[in-house]
């Protein structure tokens, strides 16, 4: 369970992201939050994952912290791939052998465990990080802007892995892409003018963004 109690969030520079909001997300719910670019998606994802508290109010969680999917720099560039995967699995609390085998299988053939992480392509590194973070047990998956790697070669297997994981976990997916949100989520919100507005579907989302932009233009005028 993740519950916001009058949670208020703003950036370090004082720009508001979320006005006082109270909302409750129950286990296994698939929450999609449509948010415009620059509206504070990453900060919100960190709040939902328990990585930072809101500036005011509270976020009550049944677990201390959750994983944000596909975090970068999970694998240290100066380490050999196998050593880097072992350490990353340890830091995520995963059983080494199983986690490494799954990650290597997901990222594709041709990976040599003795090669340096810095010699991998960005797609390979992203796929390995995604595969590792997806394996972490937990009640929630938190996704910031992208749920599955964008590489076409990995999209199908990534989607099936995510679907499998979502059978036992809830999802909070914050994105500007309404189509992607509708693909994975069944309860929707729009982050507009720092308000988290519940909506039955995302058809109204762009209209709410427009209202916000018009409001901003009006304020400037």
């Amino acid at each position: 369970m993740i519950e916001l109690r009058a949670a208020t969030v703003w950036t370090p520079s004082g720009q508001p992201i979320l006005s006082p909001t109270s909302e409750r997300f129950v286990p296994k719910e698939k929450i999609g939050i449509l948010a415009a670019p620059g509206s504070g998606k990453t900060t919100l994802a960190r709040i939902f994952a328990g990585l930072q508290p809101p500036q005011q109010g509270r976020v009550i969680r049944s677990t201390i912290r959750d994983t944000i999917l596909g975090q970068e720099n999970l694998l240290h560039p100066h380490m050999a791939l196998h050593a880097a995967l072992t350490d990353a699995a340890t830091l995520l609390g995963l059983p080494h052998q199983c986690a490494i085998e799954r990650a290597l299988r997901f990222a594709g053939k041709g990976l040599n465990p003795t090669q340096k992480v810095s010699s991998l392509s960005p797609v390979q590194k992203s796929a390995l990080s995604f595969a590792l973070s997806l394996q972490r047990p937990g009640q929630w998956l938190i996704a910031d802007d992208r749920l599955v790697p964008s590489d076409p070669g990995l999209a199908a297997s990534a989607e099936s892995a995510v679907r499998l994981r979502l059978k036992t976990a809830g999802l909070i997916y914050i994105s500007k892409n309404a189509t992607q949100l509708q693909r994975y989520c069944d309860r929707f919100f729009v982050l507009a003018a720092t308000n988290l507005i519940p909506v039955p579907d995302l058809k109204l989302g762009p209209a709410l963004f427009r209202t916000e932009a018009e409001g901003a233009t009006h304020d400037t005028a």
């Binding site: 912290r65 959750d66 944000i68 240290h76 100066h78 050593a83 350490d87």
Partner: protein
């Protein structure tokens, strides 16, 4: 405790990869700093005709002052800098702030042990000096200066995670301590009325204690291993570690 040990070991692997990977020269720098300071001190002593207050070679006198100071300084600055560099690792659900502190502090202790062993034993061997008077006491002094460095780094690292300028300001703030911590003098050379002022700085009594441990002919008027400030710092470290472990034990399984 096993998950904690595994996490700390993994963090140490990563840090070693950083030091031996992109910053290999910085590891060598750890040896160059104390040796160059000792060389600079010998030249300065000769230039100003400074008579050292203990009957020994100037290099050995300087080494017993510079090494504990270097341990303190390197521990404080490297742990703070490493925590800031690894701050994104704190986003991983199982990793806590105290894991980073312990991992980097242990690495610094190992580095310090190697530096002290090579520099001190090297000087004793090269100068054909009498062996150090009380090696266990000298090691205790080194351990206490390391623990003060770790204790302060808990606060500076926390602060540096919020204010990035801390890592740049810290070396400047530490600079005066090089001159007032007894690296170039001993407590018996200070007028008795002024000793208490220098003694506010726990490094001063520790470095003087190091001289007492190294040289049979010197008795420090200020050093006591359980002196109040040293003790206070140890308590601060214990409280910090205990509170962080308590907090961690609630969330590790998550």
């Amino acid at each position: 405790m096993t998950p904690h040990l595994d996490i700390i070991t993994a963090l140490m692997h990563r840090e070693i990869a950083v030091r031996f990977g992109e910053e290999r020269l910085s590891y060598l720098w750890a040896f160059i700093v104390p040796l160059s300071w000792i060389g600079f001190g010998i030249l300065a002593f000769a230039a100003f005709d400074r008579q050292i207050p203990i009957s020994t070679h100037p290099a050995l006198f300087l080494a017993t002052g510079i090494l504990p100071y270097v341990i303190f300084r390197q521990t404080l600055t490297y742990v703070t800098r490493s925590v800031v560099a690894a701050r994104r690792i704190l986003d991983l659900p199982n990793v806590r702030f105290f894991h980073l502190i312990i991992a980097f502090a242990i690495l610094e202790a190992l580095t310090a042990a190697v530096i002290c062993a090579i520099v001190l034993l090297g000087l004793v061997w090269i100068l054909d000096a009498a062996s150090l008077a009380n090696l266990p006491s000298l090691i205790l002094v080194f351990c206490l200066t390391w623990s003060i460095g770790v204790a302060i780094s808990v606060f500076t690292s926390r602060l540096a995670l919020r204010v990035s300028a801390v890592t740049r300001v810290l070396p400047l703030l530490l600079r005066p301590f090089f001159w007032i911590s007894g690296v170039f003098f001993v407590a018996t050379e200070i007028p008795p009325d002024w000793i208490w002022v220098l003694n506010i700085n726990p490094l001063f009594s520790l470095i003087d204690g190091g001289r007492e441990a190294a040289f049979q002919t010197y008795n420090s008027p200020v050093y006591a291993p359980s002196s109040t400030l040293t003790f206070l710092f140890a308590i601060v470290v214990a409280i910090c570690v205990a509170s962080m472990i308590k907090h961690q034990s609630r969330g590790l399984a998550g």
